[in-house]
């Protein structure tokens, strides 16, 4: 590896000692800033929407509500997430490997397509010209410009993902990279899932586009749903794989954690690539036209292979943290390490918030309602957005925020602004999301529908049946949701403020203060001693459990999972209707 040659294309980072390609750096900046702008827009919309569904406030008029809800879904689930992920893909395939970007111009073309497509789609939705929700289910019709804009965005994203593969392959060819770092490996899995998702999305949207131009008849609504959810849920699997990579990265950065078993972590990542896309079919559990055995196979057997993968990460990340703390002598007893982890570091706090909220609320609720029977009680109720706000918003977004506190100062070479606010941000955000999702989840569990302007049916005349009239419960649940939204949006605003402030006003420095960063986070693996004793499995695991604290926590989590899962079947038995 010749560092002399490498330096011709970039600078050496004085904090991490990585070589940073100039084009890659600029493209990471462009994608990250765009992502954060979309997050800010989506957050404002989130507040307005939540304050409308909080029936006591019922803020927005009807058409505005549906317009902003459409925009919110698209901006948050697709634009914020994908721009951030492409920034992550560029970072993982160039900077982290000290490798150069193969074709900067291709990267810029991808960015331009993503930016142009997303802006047009967002403006059409905001101005009421494509009020079709993020799903745009036919025969609900949007103008051709809308489908065209989304397709341009998707093709741009595909180009960015292919560029990631090209960068990784080129870096390996030059011999700079042997085995990929675990973080890059997770993003590689995310990139593979992204290609699959974007291809499914194109297969759904191209016929819709042609139909909107009047060239073909309407797409079959059932087939569209099948293809669409390859994108709609597939994109969330991309988030999952990226988030897992970030979990490992944050654990390494903040406590110097090293995966306890590199091989096991990688196998679990491969399980995602092989199995998780089949779980996308859980969106079709209440649909006509899909044979029950297909539903069952895809959403139980195959999805559980992916659930197993998540459960492995849920164990191996805390285990890596525990082991790192024990190795540094910062633990006594079962849980002493938990007292000594850096709760005040925003990176660690974000990891904790993301892992707990994603795993405990998002994961368990997802598995339960992803079963074909229980799904009939959940399909299209508010419990669905409650679930994915726990996964994508409390899980993925919190993780993305956490890693930003390191990436943004390093890439922009600026001192992080407002450090005290940054310290509090993950906790405010996590608390708000918890309250929001508890309220929304209980409201959906009670039976209230999602994507609905007025559950009191006040404008329905003599037919009206007020869903909030019979019992105080749903009214209270919606209020909890509204209050949670206010807190969560405050937490989100704290993130946006600190990042935007840093990017534009932060003091320029080649060595930004990142808080505590473990010296081992970027330290290369020690060279092998001749005849090295690195791999002696027999000696490796002699004696007692290595991570007893994590094991106890994991067992408690599994018991909660089993209890809630069991309870869901008891509840199903209590529905005052038999159905098959």
């Amino acid at each position: 590896m010749s560092m002399q040659a490498s330096l011709t294309f970039g600078r050496r980072c004085q904090v991490t000692d990585l070589v940073v390609d100039r084009s890659a750096e600029h493209q990471i900046m462009a994608h990250a800033v765009t992502a954060v702008v979309y997050l800010a827009i989506g957050g404002i919309l989130a507040l307005l929407i939540a304050l409308t569904r909080w029936q006591w406030v019922h803020l927005l008029p009807v058409n505005t509500f549906y317009e902003l809800l459409s925009t919110h879904g698209m901006v948050m689930l697709i634009f914020w997430i994908l721009f951030f992920e492409v920034a992550g893909l560029i970072f993982a395939s160039t900077v982290l490997l000290s490798a150069r970007m193969v074709a900067p111009i291709v990267g810029w073309i991808a960015y331009a397509m993503m930016l142009g497509g997303s802006l047009v789609a967002m403006l059409l939705m905001l101005t009421g010209r494509a009020t079709v929700m993020f799903t745009s289910y036919p025969p609900l019709l949007a103008p051709p410009t809308y489908y065209g804009a989304v397709l341009v965005f998707a093709v741009g994203a595909i180009v960015a993902v292919v560029h990631f593969f090209v960068n990784v392959i080129a870096a390996r060819r030059r011999g700079d990279v042997g085995t990929l770092p675990l973080f890059t490996f997770a993003l590689l899995a995310a990139a593979i899932l992204a290609l699959w998702s974007l291809a499914a999305g194109a297969a759904a949207l191209i016929p819709a586009f042609l139909w909107s131009l009047g060239l073909i008849g309407p797409p079959d609504p059932g087939v569209y749903r099948l293809l669409y959810w390859g994108l709609g849920h597939g994109a969330q699997q991309v988030n999952l794989a990226a988030m897992i990579g970030i979990w490992y990265a944050l654990a390494s950065l903040t406590v110097g954690a090293k995966p306890v078993n590199e091989g096991l972590s990688r196998v679990a990542i491969v399980l995602y690539v092989l199995f998780i896309q089949m779980g996308s079919m859980h969106h079709l559990l209440a649909d006509p036209g899909i044979a029950p055995w297909v539903r069952n196979l895809n959403t139980s057997y195959f999805m559980y292979a992916a659930v197993m993968a998540s459960l492995i990460h849920a164990f191996s990340i805390p285990a890596a943290v525990e082991l790192a703390m024990r190795e540094r002598g910062l633990s006594n007893g079962l849980f002493g390490w938990l007292r000594n982890v850096p709760w005040g570091e925003p990176g660690f706090a974000s990891l904790a918030v993301s892992l707990v909220l994603f795993g405990v609320f998002g994961g368990i609720s997802g598995v339960i309602m992803g079963g074909p029977q229980a799904n009939l009680l959940a399909h299209n109720t508010l419990i669905v957005p409650a679930h994915f706000h726990m996964t994508v918003v409390a899980g993925t977004t919190a993780a993305f925020m956490g890693i930003s506190y390191y990436l943004v100062p390093l890439v922009f070479q600026r001192q992080m602004m407002l450090p005290a606010m940054v310290k509090a941000q993950p906790w405010v955000y996590g608390f708000g999301m918890t309250v929001l999702c508890i309220g929304m989840g209980l409201a959906g569990h009670w039976g209230l529908p999602r994507r609905h302007w007025d559950v009191t049916f006040s404008s329905t005349g003599p037919l009206g049946i007020n869903l909030l009239a019979g019992s105080a419960e749903p009214t209270i649940f919606l209020a909890i949701m509204g209050i949670g939204a206010i807190i969560a949006v405050t937490g989100g605003a704290m993130f946006v403020l600190s990042i935007v402030g840093t990017v534009f006003l932060g003091t320029r420095t080649a060595t930004p203060d990142l808080g505590y960063v473990s010296p081992e986070a970027f330290a290369p693996m020690p060279a092998l001693v001749a005849g090295g004793s690195e791999d002696h499995p027999a000696a490796a695991h002699a004696g007692a459990f290595e991570v007893p604290g994590t094991l106890v926590l994991a067992l408690l989590f599994l018991m909660l999972f089993i209890a809630l899962y069991g309870y869901s079947w008891i509840e199903l038995s209590g529905i005052p209707m038999l159905f098959r």
């Binding site: 039976g447 994507r451 490796a540 038999l578």
Partner: protein, 183 residues
């Protein structure tokens, strides 16, 4: 223990290693739990549960389905609420329900403890059938061109709203049907 590295650093050499005691225990439990959930959904619940997901489906032309609903309504109408026909489905027989932007027709009258074949379809857009018991609801997707067919047996009498829970346009929140269960 083998040499381990940060997740941000490339591992070198033989970094594969066998599972430790902790990992073996956890992976074992996780595999057992995954298989248990699989067995529950595919084998156990279908054998013991009275509430299951066996949605049947037919292809249908929306106009044909509309005619069926009209004929069903004419043959079994027992009243009217605010201009919407109330139709008593024959016990043990078929009950038709049509979604359209923005209505559910007709209102269905069922008898407690009797089984019905509920046939759901749409005249225009995608809709969501949501029968709200409060607490809890029962939900099915309704697509134009398809009939969603389910067997239902109401066990509680009363009047239950049918809400649309698939966004279907700016009047989505106006769609309100009714299921009346008589003793």
């Amino acid at each position: 223990m083998a040499v381990r590295v940060s997740s941000l650093v490339k591992p070198r050499g033989a970094w594969w290693q066998s599972l430790g005691r902790d990992e073996r225990l956890w992976v074992g439990l996780v595999v057992i739990w995954g298989l248990a959930m699989f067995a529950m959904i595919v084998f156990i619940w279908p054998a013991i549960g009275a509430r299951d997901n066996d949605i049947q489906a037919y292809r249908v032309d929306p106009a044909t389905f509309h005619d069926k609903v009209e004929a069903f309504t004419a043959a079994n109408k027992v009243g009217e609420i605010a201009g919407v026909p109330v139709v008593a489905a024959p016990a043990g027989g078929d009950a038709y329900l049509e979604a359209a932007a923005f209505s559910w027709r007709p209102f269905l009258q069922l008898q407690r403890g009797k089984q019905y074949r509920l046939l759901l379809s749409s005249r225009d857009l995608q809709h969501g059938f949501s029968l709200v018991f409060g607490p809890r609801s029962l939900n099915y997707q309704v697509l134009p061109g398809y009939i969603t067919v389910v067997q239902i047996t109401p066990e509680r009498s009363g009047e239950f709203p049918v809400v649309c829970n698939e966004y279907c346009g700016l009047g989505h929140h106006l769609m309100l049907g009714r299921v009346i269960v008589k003793d």
